[in-house]
């Protein structure tokens, strides 16, 4: 039996560097990852493809958490940065004839470059002012998507070819899932480690008190810009995967609604927490689907008022989000920590 100490006792440097602290946690996480990889074998395509959308949302949410949660810069452009990634990836594949494996990171870099351009105002602006500046990014990019016909297909959108590995095409629900979940796991590991790095600590210092950070020798502008770049890189990767998942990219998807959705994910999940990004992504992806299925089932039982019930969906969605913010202001990640702490000392909590 491996036990965690009832306190923070790290005795060696190796101890200090561990992400998964006890054997139990290591086994649990390993089993969970294994379960993720085995799940398509016993779940339906619908469940598998829902999990694919969750994995994509996790990547996007991790991205916005880097800039908003860790560095404290509100970004309202995550949806548009995803669009940049999606269109860039499709462009690299169709026109430049790159394989997906190269096009996806390239799309991420393209998106990062765009993110840096729109992150420039962060040199002078903070808080709400910066939020409005990034909002401009959202609308400018949306305009570009609609009018850069050669790359984005304008309002008609463009197809996104499936990735290929040799002769194997990733065009089934399962293969798309495996690809996405692998990238998502890589993103989670990368983010966790990023936070423990020099840059990650600088991000947090910038967020907590930018003046102190600057006095300590953190280059504020550099790290703010870097956080925008990293965040947009994640968004670009998520966008590429979204394009792969749908097979068709349309500018109508990457609107302000999508950006706010991502912001909501990390607020509900927990700002500045990797686990929070995951919880938030799961919550915000599943809730509309649960409500759709729920209201659909209710409408089947009461066909006379079916349409009325369906119209409640958005209202219920809003109420649930508000209730969450009232009763879980620190996000789902905080609740998770509380549950863990409770069981850690169970049954002798004092």
């Amino acid at each position: 039996m491996s036990v965690a100490h009832c306190g923070d006792f790290r005795q060696t440097y190796k101890d200090d560097m561990l992400v998964l602290r006890t054997r139990f946690i290591r086994i649990a996480v390993g089993a969970f990852v294994l379960l993720l990889y085995l799940s398509p074998l016993f779940s339906s395509n619908y469940v598998t493809s829902t999990m694919t959308t969750i994995a994509i949302a996790v990547i996007g949410a991790l991205g916005i958490n880097v800039v908003t949660g860790f560095t404290g810069q509100i970004s309202l452009g995550q949806g548009a940065f995803m669009g940049v990634g999606a269109f860039a990836c499709s462009y690299f594949m169709r026109v430049v004839h790159m394989p997906f494996w190269l096009a996806m990171p390239m799309a991420g870099l393209t998106s990062a470059a765009v993110g840096m351009i729109f992150g420039l105002p962060s040199a002078r602006l903070k808080g709400l002012y910066l939020a409005i500046a990034t909002l401009a990014a959202q609308f400018i990019l949306q305009y570009v998507f609609m009018h850069l016909d050669a790359v984005t297909g304008g309002s008609n959108g463009i197809p996104s070819p499936p990735p290929e590995f040799g002769t194997f095409a990733f065009d089934g629900d399962r293969s798309k899932y495996y690809l996405t979940i692998t990238v998502a796991i890589a993103a989670v590991i990368f983010t966790t480690n990023l936070l423990r790095s020099r840059s990650g600590r600088a991000f947090i210092a910038v967020r907590d008190h930018h003046l102190s950070a600057e006095i300590m020798g953190v280059n504020l502008f550099k790290y703010r810009l870097l956080s925008f770049a990293v965040s947009a890189f994640y968004a670009g990767i998520a966008g590429s995967l979204w394009g792969m998942y749908t097979g068709y990219i349309s500018a109508e998807h990457f609107t302000i609604t999508e950006s706010i959705n991502y912001l909501a994910m990390i607020i509900i999940g927990g700002l500045g927490s990797v686990l929070g990004s995951i919880f938030g992504a799961i919550f915000m992806t599943l809730l509309p689907q649960v409500l759709t299925v729920g209201t659909g089932a209710l409408a089947d039982i009461f066909p006379k008022i079916g349409f009325l019930i369906m119209s409640f969906k958005d209202g219920v969605f809003g109420i649930i989000v508000i209730l969450f913010l009232i009763f879980e202001p620190d996000g789902l990640a905080h609740r998770w920590r509380m549950i863990k702490t409770y069981w850690k000392l169970y049954p002798f909590s004092y």
Partner: protein, 388 residues
Amino acid sequence: MKRLTASIALAAMALLAAPLMGQDIVIGNIADITGGTGDVGKPYAEGIKAYTDYINANGGINGRKIKLLQQDYAYKIPEALSLYKKFKDQDKVVAIQGWGSGDTEALKEQVAKDQIPYFSASYSAHLTDPAKSPYNFFCAVDYSTALRGCLKYIKDNWKEKRKPKVAFIYPDVGYGKAPIPAGKAYALELGFEIVGEENVDLKALEATTQLLNLKKKDPDFAWIGGTKPSTSVILKDAKKLGLRTKFFGNIWSADEESPKMTGGAEEGYLFVVGAALYGDKGAGMDVIKKVSGGQLRVSSWIRGWVSMMVMCEVLKTADKNKELTGPGIRKYAEQLTNLNTQGLTAPITYSNSDHRPFTSVILAEFAGGKMVRKGTIDLPRRADWKGF
């Protein structure tokens, strides 16, 4: 023991076989009840539901009932995609009734790959080329043909010597932009002078800037490619600014309820109607009148009804020939020749090289707050217009 196993196997087989006989036909409906186009999306979905109830009460599909799964996707593409997956994998639908441009475009490739016939309310002309979208169908005149029909009607009634001046107002979205290139090409072909082009958003609350621009160019006619709310905004602002332009518009731009929103500014507005108007004569309308109990049904409701009616006709033939599968439905849909929708639309014809249901355009105009039919323009089924 062996006997027990055998009887269990038999029972299991009986259970499995039972639903196959007289099994319901499952159809999915991705509808917009609460989203951005809910004003016309809801009646459309109600029309689909009403026809399903009607056919189920009147013999069904060769005795089999239709199980219609209606779900709201609030005009959000990701929700439409996940609904599509649910319909395909969990509910095993044989065909889908869809709705808007964004989701229909986003699903175009997938329905082709999964071979699921998709009847949409997006009447974009590029959905009519089976080489590009083999499983997409719709039951109204496509947007490009609609615009061409209007232009032809205007030109036919143009008395002056000079060229008529035309302008185009549309929202900068797929639905708005789709017919514009075709319309411009045909306007030049007919001898119009194109004087201007303006974007008015679907959610616009005022259009003064755009209309002041137009006023300088003084077009005789201006196309409105929006939906009901944006059209009423344009018409009201144009009246306020004193434009002498006559407006004409697309199939979703106005209906029976528009005068309530425009308060008189709609007088003389010419627009395309996709189906017969409520209260018209004809066998099809008599059924609608009976079903609705004499209550007004707007034209988007009737279009939903017709879309389901056409789908059911195809299902009947496919079922009769024991080919109630995606490819089967497509095959028999493409064999439809002059399908009579009991006077609700022009006769519908699809072929394996052309999914344009018909190329005649019914036009109506507002006069004294009422919709008055102005005539039907029959356009040729030109090959260079397919998918354009």
